[in-house]
């Protein structure tokens, strides 16, 4: 990446009131010029667990992701940031193929998980989703007991042994730092928990499936500050045992919890690097404009 290339970039500091993201046609501006994203060199030394290569995604006619390429580092927390509509959630939901549910979605390019293709005719989507757990923006406990929520993944996999179920439930709830709060009422409805507890329950439920990656789609956006702090603390503790990809709106949160941060804008990856570097000395002007709050 040369300074010459940077100068051709039209957005950023010169125009602080820069164009707000256009949800309907994110591709309109993108097609004019192709600028390669800036990938910080530190990432080269990381071991990649999930690789995205030249990935495009279309909703019918409109393109939501443009030639995104990035590697998710094993055992690390990677944050995806960017203004709403930038495609970060779409990218996350492409990783466990949850976008398959939407009519008219089409993808091109490659995505591999541990070297195995995610978008392949022979890929077993169900198995894939078991290995890539997901936590949603709005907590979505099922209308059943806390215990049954946690062991749901085991139940649908056909596990019947009570001992095993109880063991996994306790372990997962402890990992989600929820055990002490609910151990006396495991068999009451999960819907009676508070919002923050429900979200941690959803994390416990994802962990119980023994995934290798946790995909988190703005997991704290519906939570109050105290509950948010608890979930962030939890993400900290999960680091190392799990590879975490977290989409967040909140840049402070990204700065607090993640090792690496990818900044996306209008369906493109703009800059990707170690969180500390990216937030303190961003390489590109758009990144700087965004993280200093000048747009988005």
């Amino acid at each position: 990446m040369t300074p010459a290339v940077m100068k051709t970039i039209p957005t950023a500091a010169g125009a602080p009131a820069a164009p707000p993201p256009d949800f309907d046609a994110p591709d309109r501006q993108g097609q004019e010029e192709k600028k390669p994203p800036y990938i910080h060199p530190e990432l080269a030394s990381e071991q990649s667990l999930l690789t995205v290569e030249n990935f495009n995604l279309f909703y019918g006619q409109s393109q939501a992701l443009h030639a995104v390429s990035l590697n998710i580092s094993a055992g690390k927390v990677t944050a995806l940031i960017g203004p709403s509509g930038c495609g970060k959630s779409t990218l996350l939901r492409s990783m466990n193929r949850l976008n398959d549910l939407i009519d008219g979605v089409r993808v091109t390019g490659n995505m591999t998980f541990k070297g195995q293709p995610i978008y392949d005719r022979h890929t077993d989507v169900i198995e894939l989703r078991k290995r890539l757990g997901m936590v949603f923006q709005k907590s979505n406990p099922f209308p059943m007991s806390i215990f049954e929520n946690v062991v749901y993944a085991l139940r649908i996999a056909g596990e019947r042994k009570r001992r095993k179920l109880e063991e996994v439930a306790e372990k997962s709830l402890r990992s989600a730092a929820l055990w002490d709060e609910v151990k006396d009422r495991l068999h009451t409805s999960a819907l009676r928990l508070s919002g923050g507890q429900q979200q941690r329950l959803c994390i416990a439920r994802a962990i119980a499936a023994d995934p290798e990656v946790l995909l988190m789609d703005e997991p704290c956006s519906a939570l109050d500050p105290i509950a948010t702090a608890k979930v962030e603390e939890l993400i900290h503790e999960l680091r190392g045992n799990y590879t975490v990809v977290i989409v967040t709106h909140n840049m402070q949160q990204a700065a607090r919890v993640s090792d690496y941060t990818a900044f996306m804008y209008l369906g493109r990856l703009i800059e990707y690097g170690p969180t500390n570097t990216l937030f303190v000395t961003p390489h590109l002007k758009e990144t700087e404009a965004y993280i200093t709050g000048r747009f988005g």
Binding site: K130, F142, I156
Partner: protein, 357 residues
């Protein structure tokens, strides 16, 4: 116009006279419209009151005569029987003129056969319709693309609009002969041959106009209502619930099962609505069920439902106990369908589990 009619503003001064007059006429119209609207609301309440009270009143003689025995008695005999009196040895007892002495056995009315007929035919209907309807609702929501779901929904709703007499005609001239010649002989033979199913065997020749035919026609008739309501109920399941199961590695069907569980009370309501319609359905059933008052286990035997009994006998009944007994049957049918509807309404409207924020 008296002064008290003049609207007053906040300062207590009377408003200018013309405005006051205009407004007062407006108020008068206002009051009439309000009264008419409220009156129509009261009419709706009166309709229900009339229904229940008239049937109760007219059924009173029968209720008084038979009491609870009405529900357990199996014979329905509108005419008094005359039976020649005999000695224990079997000799005819004669009076002084040599005429045989005759005992008069009064008419007797029992609702058990028709209650049984209604229950069993509705059960057959639901057995047939519920899986079909849930499967179709699932198809409409989870499988069919929007372009296909629209027309299929329309077809299903059109099925709901077909008058019951049309189903009756079809059942009588198409379904019944088909069952009689192609299905029931082998079915009956099967019932006879398999030891565990012996009780379902019918000793006569199945005619195609029997409990099974009635149940099937009813099943076809309740398909659309159960499908439409359960489609709406399933559509209300939040997308996050479906995604939540899939993200944990659930198969398509496992996530569908979660949808069914999530909306189980609403689905139960849908079934109750279907049940209410099946139990109260008259014309189609009357045309295919065979209209015989009896309690027979075999679905290949002719039967009678409450509604078909009314359709068959009410017009010919004399004014006495026979009519009153029929009215009691109508009352039971009304109360039953009210109960189904109340339960269904309570379940379909607003009893869905909610996920708190």
């Amino acid at each position: 116009m008296t002064t008290t009619d003049i609207p007053v503003n906040l300062t207590g001064n009377p408003l200018p006279a013309p405005a006051a007059r205009r407004r007062s006429r407006g108020q008068w119209v206002d009051r009439i419209v309000h009264r008419l609207a409220a009156g129509s609301g009261v009419i709706v309440l009166l309709m229900m009151a009339a229904l229940v009270s008239v049937l109760f009143y007219a059924a009173a003689p029968s209720i008084k005569t038979f009491g609870l025995k009405f529900f357990t008695e199996t014979s329905w005999r509108p005419n008094a029987l005359e039976k020649i009196k005999r000695t224990p040895e079997g000799k005819i007892i004669r009076d002084a003129d040599g005429e045989a002495v005759v005992d008069t056995i009064p008419p007797v009315f029992g609702a058990l056969p028709v209650i049984y007929g209604t229950a069993v035919s509705s059960a057959i209907a639901l057995l047939f319709a519920v899986p079909m309807s849930l499967g179709t609702a699932m198809f409409l929501i989870r499988i069919a693309p929007a372009k296909l779901a629209g027309p299929v929904s329309f077809l299903v709703e059109f099925l709901a609009a077909i008058p019951s007499i049309a189903f009756g005609l079809w059942g009588l001239f198409v379904l019944a002969p088909f069952l009689q010649s192609h299905v029931e002989p082998s079915l009956n033979a099967g019932f006879g041959a398999i030891p565990g199913l012996r009780w379902l065997h019918y000793d006569g020749m199945p005619t195609g106009r029997d409990m099974l035919a009635g149940g099937l026609v009813l099943g076809i008739m309740v398909l659309p209502i159960i499908t439409a309501v359960s489609r709406d109920v399933l559509r209300a399941v939040p997308q996050t619930q479906i995604e939540g199961t899939l993200a944990l590695g659930a198969t398509w069907w496992q996530s569908c099962r979660e949808m069914l569980r999530y909306s189980r009370s609403g689905l139960f309501g849908a079934v109750m609505l279907g049940l209410a319609r099946a139990a109260g359905e008259t014309m189609a059933v009357t045309m295919v069920i065979g209209n015989v008052n009896q309690v027979v286990a075999s679905p290949l035997a002719p039967a009678q439902t409450m509604a078909s009994l009314l359709a068959n006998q009410f017009a010919e009944a004399d004014g006495g106990l026979h009519r009153s007994a029929l009215l009691q049957v109508a009352l039971i049918l009304l109360l039953m369908s009210l109960a189904f509807n109340v339960v269904a309404r309570a379940l379909v409207v607003g009893k869905q589990p909610t996920v708190t924020q």
